[in-house]
């Protein structure tokens, strides 16, 4: 069975369920505990909460990472065993970034900072660039599939 994770959504599953999403500048953060075979995915949209009081908890890197982690531990995962996979954070329209860094790169930085505080190492990372990514994770075996259209484009040079 496949479950699509929308923007700001968080899902944790124990069964051989495949969690999937498509990200551009957002981050698909996937956590997996190999011992209890629990997987979780958060579709993080922005780095930090900023006045947006009614926003869903999964929208921001700080609250999103916490909430995903909490749901994982409540279901029996152990933080020191976790595999963390960070995918996304592209800057698709780089030329348009007028000041400073893009939302994509700030998202990557914010998620990494959160993981660093928690002492969780990133085991797989596919971030940055200018193209979107399709991500799917099998919650039973922790396998991750990342697809981009990059290889379908032949660039002139």
């Amino acid at each position: 069975m496949e479950l699509f994770i929308r923007m700001s959504e968080i899902q944790v599953e124990k069964e051989p369920i495949v969690l999937k999403t498509v990200v551009g500048s957002c981050i698909a953060l996937c956590l997996w505990d190999p011992k209890v075979r629990i997987g979780g995915m958060a579709h993080i949209v922005m780095p930090k909460k900023n006045g947006d009081v009614d926003a869903p908890i999964g929208k921001y890197a700080d609250t999103g990472v916490r909430s995903l982690l909490k749901q994982m531990t409540q279901n029996g995962a152990n933080i020191s065993r976790l595999h963390a996979m960070c995918i996304g954070g592209a800057s698709m329209f780089m030329q348009s970034g007028k000041n400073g860094s893009s939302i994509g790169s700030r998202n990557v930085e914010a998620v990494k900072q959160e993981l660093q505080v928690l002492g969780i190492e990133i085991t797989t990372e596919a971030v940055g660039g200018i193209m979107g990514r399709k991500v799917s994770m099998n919650c039973n075996d922790g396998s991750i599939t990342i697809t981009t259209l990059q290889q379908r484009i032949q660039w002139n040079n």
């Binding site: 699509f4 929308r6 923007m7 700001s8 999403t21 498509v22 990200v23 551009g24 500048s25 957002c26 949209v45 922005m46 900023n50 006045g51 947006d52 869903p56 929208k59 592209a90 698709m92 329209f93 030329q95 348009s96 007028k98 939302i103 200018i130 193209m131 979107g132 990514r133 399709k134 259209l149 379908r152 484009i153 032949q154 660039w155 002139n156």
Partner: protein, 210 residues
Amino acid sequence: MELYKSEEISEVMLNDSNQDNLRDIFQKTFHDAAKSLSQLVGQNMIIDQYKIEQITSEEFSAQVEEQFEQSYFASIIKVEEDLDTNIAFLIQEEAGLDIYRLISGEQIKNSDVISENVIAGIGEMNNILGSSFINSLANHLGITIHGIAPINTFDMFGAIIESIVLQEEFLNREIICADAKIREEHLGGYDIRLIIMSDKERLYHTLEQI
């Protein structure tokens, strides 16, 4: 899946005095853009359905999620100083290649590899469409609008949508989204989308000046 109901107007906007105004303006503007596209491809392209609504990024994204994995050619024009608006043209892969053949006369095949020339070519068409749209919008609003040079890409629908809705200028703001589908009058078939995301306050402010 049927995404559209013709001329569907969201409930949220029904009591707003600007709503009729806005709907008229976008409708005219969409028609003008379709007219330029018709001239470009030598076929009669019409606005099939369109809707305009006040919506959050998440809501908009959830509405279109069934197409998220499909590949699209896209071109986005940002309008900053005059109006915080993103104008996006999305053409589904096969439709884009069909139209490219019509415009360029090149007999390219549907294949796994999309050359940068094709992306640029379709981008160029989008630019013409975009300029015509911006000119039309400027005329109807009675203001000058400067678009920033368009950005062209070929990517998954979901990733493109993310980059349209997740812009600094839209964060924590109310957004108006106008979304239209274009098709050939008799043949149908082309899946072309025009999506305009605009900051509600600035759009209304501009409308009030008219």
